[in-house]
Each structure stands twice: as C-alpha cells, then as structure tokens.
C-alpha cells in the first residue's frame, strides 16, 4: 500500500523558485548580502546552526554546488556529511524513496539534494518530513543558482526591475534558466531567451510574464544589461539536436558582440564553462565576466538558505 502523502502545508525546505513569494526571495537576498565577505575581511565562522546536521546528497556529479553547500553549512557551524551517487546504495538497486527514508531515519535536520531526474525532490517531499533543499533537479529547477545570480546582478545594478537579462544557450534542458526566469520575472526584469530552435521550445514563453524568445544571438545581446551563458547539456540530449561543430559560430559569446550590449553589461555563467564552445576565452577572462563573483556569492546565499530552512529564522 503506498504511503499517504504529507499535506503540502506541512512541507518546508526549498524546492524551487516558482512557488516562492517575492518577499521570501527578498529575505534570502538580503540575508545573503549580509553573509557576503566584506572587502579585506576573511570569511567569518558563525554558530547559527550549531548542533544541526545536514546531509548533502549528490546523485549527479557536482563540484561547485556541492563544495558551496558544504562550506556554507560549515561556516554556520553545522555538521555535514556528503554522499555521492556512485557510492550510495542507489547503485545497489535501492529505490530513491528507500534511500531517503533510510537517511531520514538518522534524523538529519536538512537534506540537500541534487538529482538527474526532474521533480525528484518534489516527489520525495510528498513522503518525507525532513526538509529538502533542491540543489538542482534534472532540467527543472536550481533555486540556489538563481538566488546567487540575482545577488550577483545586484552587486552591479541597484535593482532587478526593468533590466534586460539575456539567457543564451541550451535553454530547454536548463534548470538554471527556469529558476532564473521565475526569479527575474517576479522582480520585473525583461528576459530574453536565446538558443537554436531545437533547444528553445516555444512554450518557454509561457513560463512567466516578460519573456521574449529569439534564435538570433545578436538580437538577444542588443541592449542587454546581463548576459547569462549556458552550457550545452549534451548529457541530457538523447540524440544530438544540433550540428555541434557550428555551435560556437552562431551561439558562442564573442568579444564583437559586446558593442551591441549596454556599455556596462556583465557576463555570467553558472559553470562549468566550455571555452570555445559557448563562450570565448577572452570574454570569460575579461573584466566584464563576473563568473567568479557568482561562485563567491553562492556560499553567501546558501548560508541564507540553510538558515531559513533549518535554522530558527
């Protein structure tokens, strides 16, 4: 007999941006800003989450997100353990529900989870009382990435409202794009989604208000305040949906493109970057690139998220 789902009102955690209210996002951004390292300071160690235990469960390979969550938890004084997909009992044929129930029985305060299947944390949250923080589910959402991206944009702009943000690349397969679309739209930004037609399904325009779709990178970049480049997620395409060798020619970000953007436009990328595939090296290494600021802000925003989900905030 299937277990009865937990009523949605009893669920906590952070599963996605789509269902968050603007106020909740603003709180996280403010708190993330508070946790940012001030120039000249070394990183603080706090004890907000002392005595709390956090399980990082990464069923999909990850370097930055996993390290970022672990450092964020440790800076808050929490105890963490990290489990990766290859070493877990999932590789021994255990179902996801059983694995999670086993972990939940050890009473962690929060489970941070990345999974290759869209909706895996949403599905689990229906049966698990431990709060789950979604560290990326398939092609669906990557909420902490969108939060850290917003925090980064706000380092360079006073507000998100009215900004023109262009997201370029494999949008269809991108959880980063979806979470960013939801967040930016809630704050009144204009969003341009750009990529080859085979990676830009038309219903993307219905995700949220204020979205423009284009297959032309020049159009996408024109007057942009923020250019977000995405990796082509070859691992999520059953068969290759585009001629690989000409991708850079039509959808790679090159220095010449900048003449079209706003003079102080910034370039972002959630990483890992593929130089010469979606972004040229000279762009990636230019002063316009804020890629490493994103990484740094990732720790601050994840501290805020952890406090919100497993602290008393």
């Amino acid at each position: 007999m299937p277990p009865e789902p937990i009523p949605s009102t009893a669920r906590r955690g952070l599963l996605g941006i789509e269902t968050l209210e603007r106020d909740e996002i603003q709180w996280l951004l403010d708190r993330g800003h508070y946790h940012k390292r001030k120039p000249g300071e070394s990183a603080k160690k706090l004890d907000t989450l002392r005595g709390k235990s956090i399980v990082n469960l990464f069923f999909e390979p990850s370097t930055r997100t996993r390290a970022s969550f672990e450092i964020a938890a440790k800076r808050l004084g929490a105890d963490t353990i990290s489990i990766s997909g290859e070493g877990s009992s999932l590789s021994k044929g255990e179902s996801l529900v059983d694995t999670l129930n086993t972990l939940a029985a050890m009473l962690p305060d929060t489970i941070v989870m990345r999974h290759s299947a869209s909706g895996a944390p949403q599905f689990l949250s229906r049966f698990l009382s431990t709060p789950i923080i979604n560290a990326g589910d398939g092609q669906h959402e990557h909420p902490t990435q969108a939060l850290l991206d917003a925090l980064t944009i706000l380092d360079y702009r006073p507000t998100l409202e009215g900004l023109r943000v262009s997201i370029i690349g494999d949008i269809g397969h991108s959880r980063v794009a979806r979470s960013n679309v939801y967040l930016l739209s809630k704050f009144g930004a204009d969003i341009v989604l750009c990529g080859p037609a085979t990676m830009l399904p038309r219903p993307l325009a219905e995700l949220a208000p204020g979205i423009l779709l284009t297959n032309d990178i020049v159009e996408a970049i024109t007057d942009a305040d923020v250019i977000m480049m995405l990796r082509v997620q070859l691992e999520r395409q059953n068969v290759l949906n585009f001629p690989k060798n000409e991708y850079f020619q039509f959808y790679g970000l090159q220095w010449e493109h900048f003449q079209r953007a706003k003079p102080d436009a910034i370039v972002m990328h959630p990483g890992p970057i593929n130089r010469g595939r979606e972004i040229s090296s000279e762009v990636a290494d230019s002063p316009r690139s804020v890629i490493l600021n994103q990484v740094e802000n990732g720790v601050a925003i994840r501290m805020a998220v952890l406090e919100k989900v497993c602290g008393d905030c």
Partner: protein
C-alpha cells in the same frame, strides 16, 4: 461412450424493476429480464418467476454486459502486478462482463499455445469473459507476422502490438491484408517511437515547465495517418487504440467520411484529465499516450458526441506500487481504470449533458463489439446472459486501496463519485455487487 451428466437444477435469475437500456433494439424503459442457464429467456415489462433468484434492480439502469476491449491482465509472466483472476475481479467491480486482454505478456501472446493458456486460465479463474488479443508480429518485435490464423482458431478476437507499435509500414500493410482474410481487426497503438523517444508526458507548456521530456502529439498523428492510408490500400479494418489528439480524431473523422474502415476508442482518463492535472511528479499520471492538452480533450469530447469515437476502453494497465513510487522519468507507463470507467463517464459526459445514457451504454456495448466483430453487447432472447447494472445516484469514493486489482496505480484515488456500477451479471450469475452503503 456416452457420458450422462448428473441432472442439474435449472439456474434462473430474474432482474426485476430496472430501467433497461438496450441500444440494439432501442428499448429504453422499465423491463424485467429473466436469465435461464446462462442465456436470456425473456425480456418483458413484468415477469413472474417464482423459483428464480431475484436481483432487485429498482432505481438502477440495466444494460447489456459492458465490454472493455483494451485491458492488460499481465498473465502470463507479470503476475505480481495482475493475474487473469484479479483483473477479472476488477473488471466485474467496474461493471464489465467481458474484457479483451492485450498480448504484451511474458511470453507475448503471439502463438496459439499462449492464446490457449490464457483461454484456459480464464475458464478456471476469471469471473468475467476474457477474450485474448493476439500479437501482430512475433514477440511484438515488428518484423515477422505472428501465427494470426492459428491464434484465431485458439480464441483471439483481434490483433495488436499494443505498447510496441509496428514501426515498419510494410509489415503493417501485410498485417492488415492478412488479418482481413481472417476477419480480424488490427488494433494499433499509434506512436512513432522516434518522435516520442525519451518522452514522459505530453509535449507542451506543462512538460517545459516541469522540465520533463515531451511526447509530442505528432508522434500519434503521423501513425494514425499511416494506418488510415494503409487501411484504404488493403481494405483491412484498423482500430485506433486510446486516441488522444485533435489531429488524430480529425483524421479518423475524415477517413470515415471516405468510407475507410477505421474505428477508434478513447480512455476515461483522456476525456477526464489533461496534462495540467499532473501534480507532484506523481507517476500515477504517467501513461501512453500521455494526458494531452485542453484542445485535445475537447476534440475527444466532440469525437464521442458525434460518433467518430466508437468505444470507451480503459487501457487498464496495472503496475505494482513500487514501480510508480519512483522519480517520474523512471516510472513505467500506464494506469488502472476498470473500476472508475463508468463513474467517470457519467460524471464527465452524461451529467453535463454531452451524451445520453443510451449513448453511454452504446460506447460500452454495441460500439466496442462492432469494432472487433464480437457477438456481445446486446441483450436478446437466446443471447448471452451478461448484464450490467449501474446507478446514477449512489454516492461513493474511489479508494484505490480497496481496488480488486492487484495494482493500485490510479490517478483517481480519493475521487468522489455519484453513480457507477451496481451489479455485474455474467451468464446469469451475479459476480459482483456494489457494497451497500452503511449509514455513518
């Protein structure tokens, strides 16, 4: 040597005071029905039969036994999900007196041996009539034709490679030609597997939002178009299983105007739900074809109303609980449906005034019987004593945990219904009766 059977007392069942809806004769009024030794003995305004067992059908509708031409009983081979016995019980609890079971068992029903096994198992363990459907190709691999003629002699009533559609159009053409000479309808699960590859739910706004891979409507449309063209070329009858897209329905409508021998069925979940009902990444909303968009559902309703759709069939597809308790993309396709079909039809089609009760009965009796040329779906003196009683007033809640099926994978768990099956009578024997409501 002559075998003298022990003299048995004649069994007599009298269904009293019900409102009979018998589409083939046009009866739509109060009638009593007397069944003797499994056959209908009389249909009269009032019958007195002192020694007969009486079923009080007062307040109920009485109809020829309902027929579901699309179920999966999982036996042989997948008995942990369903058996012929449990599937038949679920059918009875859904008001069906006959079901046609798809051949995608292990082994596939592609030979008279497997067909005979199913027929025998059904004879011993099923409380409703079970009519097997044979495979089109050996192992449903889409390459060589199965032993279609021999299977027909063993008891199949149609052929289909349901779930593993024949992609090779030459093979499909030959199948239609060959099957036609045996008077068999080819039932096709229309899906271009290249177009649908890797998909989990209908391709559209919802799949994009949920980050799930899409099964585009065109994967169904192109195969329906192919089948119609092949049917015209061969003269063979083709039946579109679980039709679900606006374009497919429109093409069938057009083909029928041209006199092409194409029929179609729709499932209750396709006329009751759309892809926007998919919530919580719940595997119980995952099936093939997937729940489609709003315009497709509207087209299905129109197709039912104007008769392009001949039958309602459940595509009852049991999967054990743990198979559906997974990440959605890992869940197998299919939902159970036998026990909710009548109630959903009443709620979605009859009460809103889209179709009459008589039309509903046709969709469960004469419609599906005509599709495969089966001598069922009518009540006449001398005919099979299969009767479905249904109510339009009984209030009940579908609790999947009380389902007669071995599997519990239904998206309708917890749904409140008014009306549904009341009693199921097979060959004059009451095999199921609705539980009597206990006052709270």
């Amino acid at each position: 040597m002559e075998i003298v059977e022990a003299e048995q007392e004649m069994s007599r069942l009298l269904i009293k005071d019900g409102h009979l809806i018998e589409p083939s004769s046009g009866i739509d009024e109060r009638r009593d029905v007397l069944i003797e030794d499994g056959r209908v003995a009389a249909i009269e305004p009032r019958i007195e039969a002192v020694d007969a067992e009486v079923v009080d059908a007062g307040g109920c509708f009485v109809a020829p036994g309902f027929l579901d031409i699309h179920v999966h009983l999982r036996e042989p081979g997948i008995e942990h999900a369903e058996t012929i016995e449990t599937g038949a019980k679920a059918a009875a609890a859904g008001g069906f007196t006959s079901v046609c079971c798809m051949p995608n068992t292990i082994p596939v029903n592609d030979s008279p041996t497997v067909t005979s096994f199913i027929v025998e198992r059904a004879r011993h363990s099923a409380i409703v009539n079970v009519f097997p459907i044979g495979a089109i190709t050996k192992g449903s691999k889409g390459e060589q034709l199965a032993e279609i003629g021999a299977m027909k002699k063993a008891g199949i009533v149609a052929i289909s490679d349901d779930g593993r559609p024949v992609m090779n159009s030459r093979v499909m053409r030959r199948a239609m030609e060959y099957a036609a000479s045996f008077g068999l309808t080819v039932i096709d699960h229309c899906e271009d597997l290249n177009l649908s590859m890797g998909g989990d739910i209908h391709e559209g706004a919802q799949s994009v939002r949920l980050g799930l891979r899409g099964i585009p409507g065109c994967s169904e449309d192109v195969m329906v178009a192919r089948d119609i063209i092949l049917s015209e070329v061969t003269g063979g009858a083709v039946h579109i299983a679980h039709i679900s897209t606006r374009n497919a329905i429109e093409m069938v409508r057009h083909a029928r105007r041209l006199g092409i021998r194409v029929t179609s069925e729709v499932t209750p979940h396709h006329f009751a739900l759309t892809d926007s009902d998919i919530a919580g990444y719940d595997g119980n909303y995952k099936m093939k074809p997937p729940l489609r968009g709003h315009i497709d559902k509207q087209a299905a309703l129109e197709g039912i109303i104007d008769g392009v759709i001949d039958a309602i069939a459940t595509d009852h597809a049991p999967h054990t609980g743990n198979m559906k308790m997974q990440e959605l993309e890992r869940c197998p396709f299919g939902v159970t449906g036998l026990e909710t079909a009548i109630a959903l039809t009443l709620e979605e089609l009859v009460y809103p005034g889209k179709i009459s009760l008589k039309h509903m009965v046709e969709l469960f009796t004469t419609g599906p019987a005509r599709v495969i040329g089966l001598e069922r779906g009518r009540l006449f003196v001398g005919g099979p004593g299969d009767v479905t009683l249904f109510s339009t007033s009984r209030e009940w809640v579908f609790d999947v945990n009380e389902s007669q099926s071995k599997s519990k994978n239904s998206p309708f768990h917890g749904r409140r219904f008014r009306g549904g099956p009341a009693a199921t009578i097979v060959a004059g024997k009451t095999v199921w009766q609705a539980p009597v409501a206990v006052a709270a």
